[in-house]
């Protein structure tokens, strides 16, 4: 509670501070992030990435000779709240670009609204293959699950696991990744012996876990949002299911709210937090926040801001239509801290580096 209140205060303080120095001349872009709710830890990490990017841009003279400012709205981890926030950003603040959210189930409706309003959308954390279908005006800085699920399936198969039980949330992200994983894993000769798409926001998943346990898998492959993953991990621990190997798809997301003692020993995969040119960013992050990356996602938020700033500079204007065209042009080849960002014909990141990971008091490369 205390930390939540403090985070809310910090966020409010940040907004107030940025509003205080706000100037009609500032160049503003928008973001909708899960600062509260089950993905709050990730949302905070995304906010940090944006904060660092804004500092960097303004230290180098800003955009179009003016200061850059990101207006960050909280989604609460709920689609209706995220939509309200997007409406405010599009109609009141009249920003040309909105970044966010994190969960695909929330990103998709929010982005659909934004592109209809002519505002460009930058996806900085969602990976459902359905993000591809949002339409003209929506760009992804992060790779989608048609690639990542194949990476995970290959990895699990190479670890000699053949009977997988699959757990994911029942939303656009979970359905997408479940489908892709099963397709790839079974094509290689493995078998998904049980699959649970859990209802988000429950206080217990014990019965679901007991059901899939009956299928006697040799590996549990799961993907869940921070606090829901914490419940699943604890109950799996209480049921002794951690005697079997657990494999986390997007491991920093899965373990960020789980006590280390419970998460130790899990393996998984994750997007690379930084690319070859990311070292200075990593150092700036740990210097400012006094800890290592909380998740793998801050760099994508950072790149989102940098890409937007570059596009606005290229367009020479904050007019939404011009910025949209410029985004596509900048995205032909953009060197970000997460690696080279190149959009494919559907405006999605074409090449996404992934890492094999394991958990031992923190997510480490394997």
């Amino acid at each position: 509670m205390k930390t939540l209140a403090m985070k809310a205060l910090a966020a409010a303080g940040l907004l107030a501070a940025s509003a205080g120095i706000a100037h009609a001349q500032d160049v503003t872009i928008g973001a909708v992030l899960p600062l509260t709710g089950p993905s709050a830890s990730i949302g905070e990490d995304q906010r940090r990435g944006m904060e660092l990017a804004v500092e960097r841009v303004n230290a180098a003279g800003g955009v179009l000779g003016r200061k850059l400012r990101v207006i960050i709205e909280d989604s609460g981890g709920r689609a209706p709240t995220a939509l309200d926030a997007a409406k405010k950003l599009a109609t009141v603040d009249k920003v040309p670009v909105v970044m966010g959210e994190y969960s695909s189930g929330i990103t998709i409706p929010t982005a659909q609204y934004l592109v209809k309003e002519g505002v460009s959308h930058l996806n900085i954390g969602s990976s459902s293959p359905r993000v591809r279908g949002i339409g003209e005006g929506s760009f992804s800085v992060i790779g989608l699950d048609d690639v990542s699920a194949k990476f995970a399936a290959t990895d699990v198969f190479e670890q000699k696991f053949r009977k997988a039980a699959f757990i994911a949330p029942n939303n656009a992200y979970g359905q997408g990744v479940a489908e892709e994983f099963k397709k790839n894993f079974e094509a290689m000769g493995g078998q998904v012996v049980a699959s649970i798409l859990y209802t988000a926001g429950q206080s217990t998943y014990r019965r679901e876990l007991q059901q899939i346990e009956r299928a006697a898998p040799d590996v549990y492959v799961y993907s869940a949002y921070g606090q829901e993953a914490a419940i699943i991990n604890r109950e799996a621990f209480d049921l002794g299911l951690n005697k079997t190997q657990w494999y986390a798809i997007y491991q920093t997301m899965c373990t960020t709210d789980t006590p280390a003692q419970i998460a130790n020993g899990q393996i998984g995969m994750e997007v690379s937090a930084v690319g070859p040119a990311g070292k200075p960013y990593e150092e700036a992050y740990s210097k400012k926040y006094g800890e290592k990356f909380k998740s793998a996602y801050s760099g994508y938020a950072y790149d989102g801001v940098m890409l937007s700033a570059a596009a606005i500079a290229k367009a020479g204007s904050t007019e939404a239509a011009k910025v949209r065209t410029a985004l596509a042009e900048v995205g032909r080849k953009f060197d970000g801290v997460t690696g080279e960002v190149v959009f494919d014909k559907d405006r999605q990141r074409a090449v996404q580096p992934y890492l094999r990971t394991r958990y031992q008091n923190g997510v480490l490369p394997r």
Partner: protein, 297 residues
Amino acid sequence: MFQFVLDVLIRTADLALVAVGLSAVYALVKFPNVSHVQYAALGAFLTLAGQRLGLPFALAMALSCVVTGAVAVLLNTLVFRRLLRSGPAIAMIGSLAVSMVMVALMLGVAGSRPLRYDFEIVSPLVIAGARVSHAQAYSIGAALLVLGGFAWLLYRTPMGRRMRALATNRALAEATGIDAHQVTNLISLISGALAAIGGTMLAMTSDVHVNLGTDLLLPVFAAAIIGGLGNPLGAAAGALLIAVAETAVTNLNFGWLVGQPLAFLPVTYIGAASFLFLLVALLFKPYGLFDREVRRV
């Protein structure tokens, strides 16, 4: 199989204490108090607040029991007794309103994020191949202990006799000089405390969260009604039956029906199970399964 028994016991412990308190108060005030399940949530939050303030867990829980009991007595005296003059239906709607206010207050103070008690993480106990966490074992033990104590109070003390006399024939009991208000207050206090223990135990095995009370509403009422509203120990038996039904529904393998090795009912249907069970029970035993006992008291 033993795992099944344990799962049933865990679920029974979740439901029984709250259901028993609900039923006991009903015996005296003759209206179903919907806000009773929120006492459980309140109790869980108060214990958490106590623990965060640095109290040992047992002391925090004891304090939470006292405060929740006091809240139950206050609400009964200030709100429900007045509403009851207009009839039990009005009082029930009033209790629904109280319940909503309580949820709003808890949401406002504690937020919507699930919270946890601060306990060390220990591996589960393994008994005959079945696994049970320490928290769950404590929860089962506490439920048995508290239920035993309550039964003793009800059937072996003068206070319990007064309470049963009031429940059976109020006019006659008052004529013999029993102070109905005093007995009702005491039973309210105890039922509030029982709910606080129940809520705390439930939160100990899962999370402290704002929906804790609301999630209990259906199964707890089903348990109390199956046991015969107003029959506290019947409610405990009702809780056991509901727990068996819920656990069986999610554990049964329906694979043979669809021609697959494994097929389970989705867990979201669990509420429907207790409701269905309640409907069938009421069709054949409209006054609850243990009706005859109640009338004989």
